[in-house]
Subunit: 454 residues, 2 copies
């Protein structure tokens, strides 16, 4: 079995186990059996850390059901972090010598030495540190409002959900009711950002802090990955906040009725959460079309590689941007931070974007077709085309923000969303490679010929 197929099967097994558990009566609030579709949808959404829901997590699942969902989130999040980190290390073996040296340079940091056991331990430790910190910091807010035991459970659930960018919440209105709490507006966003920024970047950040504290003499050299991820994340978070603020400022249903501090905090929270976490502190259904389009764009870009987030990833966006800059400047190479980007990496970025776009368009098309022909009541009762596109991109980028239509879609459309979440989570390239099966690289060298473009 190829690596791609192993990963795909691994996720399938966890989803299958989760579905069976969530169907059992002890998982539901009223002790009845859950329908297979609801259980499958919820398990997939949890394992794929998406957060789209067809029933309310807080009121329709029992404590045990919620615990299973939380475990699925943790397994899904950790599983993804470790597999992608390994994949990247494995991929390094396929490059030629010059590229290998470049990879070694960028990975030549203590945390990537040693064997895979050490690596997994380190990833689990990082996860635990952040999650426990999150619980401790949020405990105060939640226990004041809901009492000690319930507050603790809320803190645990939301800390793990936030770190894994899962977007599951025990409140039926997500975090809309908490939109004024400074604590929530900074602790949850920090968990989301660090969870989505990728293991390597966290390690480099940690090393930099150690370096700074111990006042070492040598100059600190950051990897290209670190620089690209940090700068792109910062740009996206900042511009997202500003544009959300400006666009939704006059909208009385979102920011309009808040004071200036509330407006800024809410715009910031929405900018953070849209990029892959999927909590919402304002009602998505009330947003302006401009706000929805911004949301769709940020969701599609998503977080950074090897983190718990989805989307095409910050680094992919950056490679495309710099390709365009190179063409305009008349250069034949793509350069970032004074480093050249190899051709295979550019091809990979193209494949990620091309595959993702096709997947999103195909699924949207199929849902339009299915709801339009076999289930016309959906569009007739006010469902819009933009809501469907929104839901599909949210599923694909494992964001979990909802335009409020997931539970109104027919069973086939929900199955399509399940497939979309799954594809988005295992990664479009891994998914396509799993379908393609074993392939042999071409050995023949062909002559070059040009053709007209653009």
């Amino acid at each position: 079995m190829t690596i791609a197929r192993t990963i795909c099967c691994g996720f399938l097994v966890v989803i299958a186990v989760g579905t069976l558990l969530l169907m059992l009566p002890f998982a539901t609030d009223d002790g009845s059996w859950n329908s297979p579709l609801v259980a499958l949808f919820t398990a997939t959404s949890a394992v794929c850390v998406t957060g789209l829901i067809v029933v309310d997590t807080g009121s329709d699942f029992s404590f045990w059901g919620q615990l299973i969902i939380l475990l699925l989130i943790q397994v899904g999040g950790l599983g993804y972090m470790t597999t992608t980190t390994f994949l990247i290390l494995l991929l390094g073996r396929r490059f030629d010598l010059r590229q290998k040296l470049a990879i070694q340079e960028s990975f030549d940091r203590p945390f990537l030495h040693g064997n895979s056991r050490t690596l997994i331990r380190s990833i689990i430790a990082t996860t635990l540190v952040f999650e426990i910190l999150g619980i401790l910091l949020m405990l105060n807010v939640f226990s004041k409002k809901y009492g000690t035991m319930k507050g603790l459970w809320y803190a645990i659930f939301h800390s793990i959900s936030a770190w894994n960018n899962a977007g599951f919440s025990l409140f039926s209105d997500s975090l809309t009711g908490l939109d004024d709490s400074l604590t929530i507006n900074f602790i949850i966003p920090l968990l989301i950002i660090f969870g989505g920024i990728g293991y390597q970047v966290i390690m480099e950040l940690y090393m930099a802090i150690v370096h700074f504290v111990t006042r070492k003499r040598e100059r600190l050299v950051f990897s290209l990955n670190f620089k690209v991820v940090i700068s792109t994340t910062a740009i996206l978070l900042l511009s997202g906040t500003i544009i959300f603020f400006l666009v939704e400022y006059p909208n009385p249903d979102t920011l309009g009725n808040l004071d200036l501090r509330g407006k800024i905090l809410t715009a910031w929270f929405q900018s953070v959460t849209t990029r892959t976490a999927g909590f919402n502190s304002i009602d998505i259904g009330s947003m302006t079309f401009a706000g929805l389009l911004l949301t769709i764009g940020l969701m599609f870009i998503g977080a950074s590689p090897s983190g718990t987030g989805g989307g095409i990833k910050t680094t992919t966006l950056r490679i495309l941007t710099n390709c365009t800059r190179s063409v305009l400047r008349g250069n034949d190479e793509v350069v970032m931070f004074e480093r050249e980007i190899s051709v295979p990496l550019i091809l990979k970025a193209v494949a990620v974007v091309f595959g993702s776009t096709n997947m999103v368009v195909l699924i949207t098309f199929l849902i339009y077709l299915n709801e339009g022909i076999f289930h016309p009541s959906f569009f007739e009762s006010g469902g819009t085309s933009l809501q469907v596109l929104f839901e599909v991109i949210s599923a694909f980028a494992t964001v979990g923000l909802s335009a409020g239509i997931t539970d109104k879609l027919s069973a086939i459309s929900q199955l399509l969303l399940i497939l979309t979440m799954y594809t988005g989570r295992v990664g479009i390239l891994v998914f396509m490679a799993a379908i393609a099966g074993e392939t042999r690289p071409r050995v023949v060298q062909y002559p070059e010929e040009t053709l007209l473009v653009g």
Copy 2:
């Protein structure tokens, strides 16, 4: 002045002259002065061979107004064909030796020998041959229905409009009233297809026919450009027809009430025209969401380079597809028809798609914002977000199909659509290069470093 700026200014001058002429009283049907915005919109739409309209071409313009529009279409279409053909020849000078040889090989055909005067003459001759053939073949149908003089004018107008993929029609319902005429369903599509396929491809096709007729001994070698354009065009036309047929089959407002022959012909016509011409024989506003999404996809892809059509072009799509295939197969090069594609060409394809997507998203965002805040009656009176996206992509790919909202948009949004048509016509890369101005390619060589993608 850079080449890019020269091209941009050239189009601007023609649009300015056209606007002034169309404002004059002799251009309008009732002899009044036209508003500057209407004249600017119509002139831009004609020069950019788009076909979006804010007033009805057949009833609101006099014969002289229609003649000016037709001349603008012809100047715009020819200007684009000649400039792009030259640009491609010019670009050939920038490649290195190996690429230069490849280009020479692909261009080493009699029609590209000789000086630029010969080339322009050849392009004009091709245009005239096709347009006159179109007029002769359509004359019969139109004169039977509208009398000799009016029929002749209709044949001339629609032949030139079809060859230039302009989408302007003298009928207020475009070609909806003609949907059963076999002549119209084959002559107009053939004009559209040949106009949009590019000058080089037509020449190679012509050479192939000559070769076949004269029964020459040597084996005929087609260029890579020819093979890619012909195969991609065929695939898009065929799959477009089939999907339109299947998707709109049950829709009583489009194909539903036609007989089988009518259904097939209309699906075929729509598949041809959507890719850049912009005539419609069914009402776009009545299409299903699935049909609209298919239309948006086909419009965005568009026609082939150096033809009269717009969009990201068939060759660009093909390069992206083969990039993805290479990544899945583990190859480091992109190959088509046993020929390797150079890295600068891949970068150019990425830049075209990235620039186009950003332009479309930006303009859509601005129109959402403008109509939402300053002109709320648009969305309140039933305008939808998908209609706006449709109109923007139609403008950018110079298609000219309309969801019926162009004349309902506010002045600022119409100006944004004018900018979009203009950008789509001069080409997104030329437009960006004109803004960027003079650039010097980088001479420093940087070391390679990898980063995480996908």
